[in-house]
Symmetry: C2
Subunit: 204 residues, 2 copies
Amino acid sequence: MNRYKRHTFLIVLIAPSGGGKSTILRRLIERRPDIAYSVSSTTRAPRVGEVDGRDYVFLSREEFTRRREQGQFFETAEVHGNLYGTSRVFIRERLDEGRHVVLDIDVQGADAIVNGGLPVVTVFLMPPGHEVLKQRLHTRGADSDETIALRLRNAHGEVARAHDFNYLVINDDLDEAVNEVLAIVRAEENRISRYESLEETFWR
Amino acid sequence: MNRYKRHTFLIVLIAPSGGGKSTILRRLIERRPDIAYSVSSTTRAPRVGEVDGRDYVFLSREEFTRRREQGQFFETAEVHGNLYGTSRVFIRERLDEGRHVVLDIDVQGADAIVNGGLPVVTVFLMPPGHEVLKQRLHTRGADSDETIALRLRNAHGEVARAHDFNYLVINDDLDEAVNEVLAIVRAEENRISRYESLEETFWR
């Protein structure tokens, strides 16, 4: 196995709010600590338990704008009034180290990554249905009723966009969903296009 | 999960002789008994332990030719002087039942399946290098030195064709290789193109 050199890639997890993205991402990294997590920068306020530099790089709107103007972000997006950005330098460095990089990104942000010229695998995480999504948003307790109503309206457009991505994982059972994502990563590592110098290595 | 209907597909395992195809295929079916095995028809003599109707449908050359003329085969190929064929009816019935169908086929036969108009996932199983392949062919003891030399010469062309297939699994450790194939099947089940009536189901 070790003899064969394989290209690494970006893994983009996309989900409507309440798709269980953050939890699945955390579990993915636990099971595959060789995969690097692309820590996003954001202007939104930290939620309880979130740590600066681990969950997000929390920036003032001024600092975010300054970095954006310097071209430090691979992409930026505004979601529910907050700015989010993906660090270009961070991703390049990890890929060069031979590590995959996983990104936690919104539907709007995914397009810029997909069109960014790097090998990308996109996984859309979806709750099993709209009723479950609604329940989860209420249970999470992070949003006002008004914000939940907005997120549900947004979900309409987001689910309609699922067909633009490579994979769909239904997040019904969490352990199951994590295993599906792990299988996707493993399969993608075995895609023929990942292998470099295949024949040379075989006959060497 | 059950709410979402997904299309099934063909899984074609391709390998140079000595790639460990038969063993990996047997283990795949053990772990995923819902996957149907496409039993090939052949004019070659049974090897020790092979059972008619389970490993192959063993046919005389006359009977094989008659069936081929009737269009009963999805594809046929001649390998090392023996005829092999894949039953068209068998595959259609299993797919219609909602089962994937796995095929054990030679590099020559794979093209016909890939171009046959059904959804196909192709996996090339490869020994880690040509030295290991040579050892395995000798250890198996099924072939004369002359046949082994022929198989090794054929491997040159077969490995060169690896890039025509979707996935490459290096069969270094057997358990590992089986897990890679299982991950590929699982990932392919989650490909967005497998899902039918996605949005209708989500909002229902």
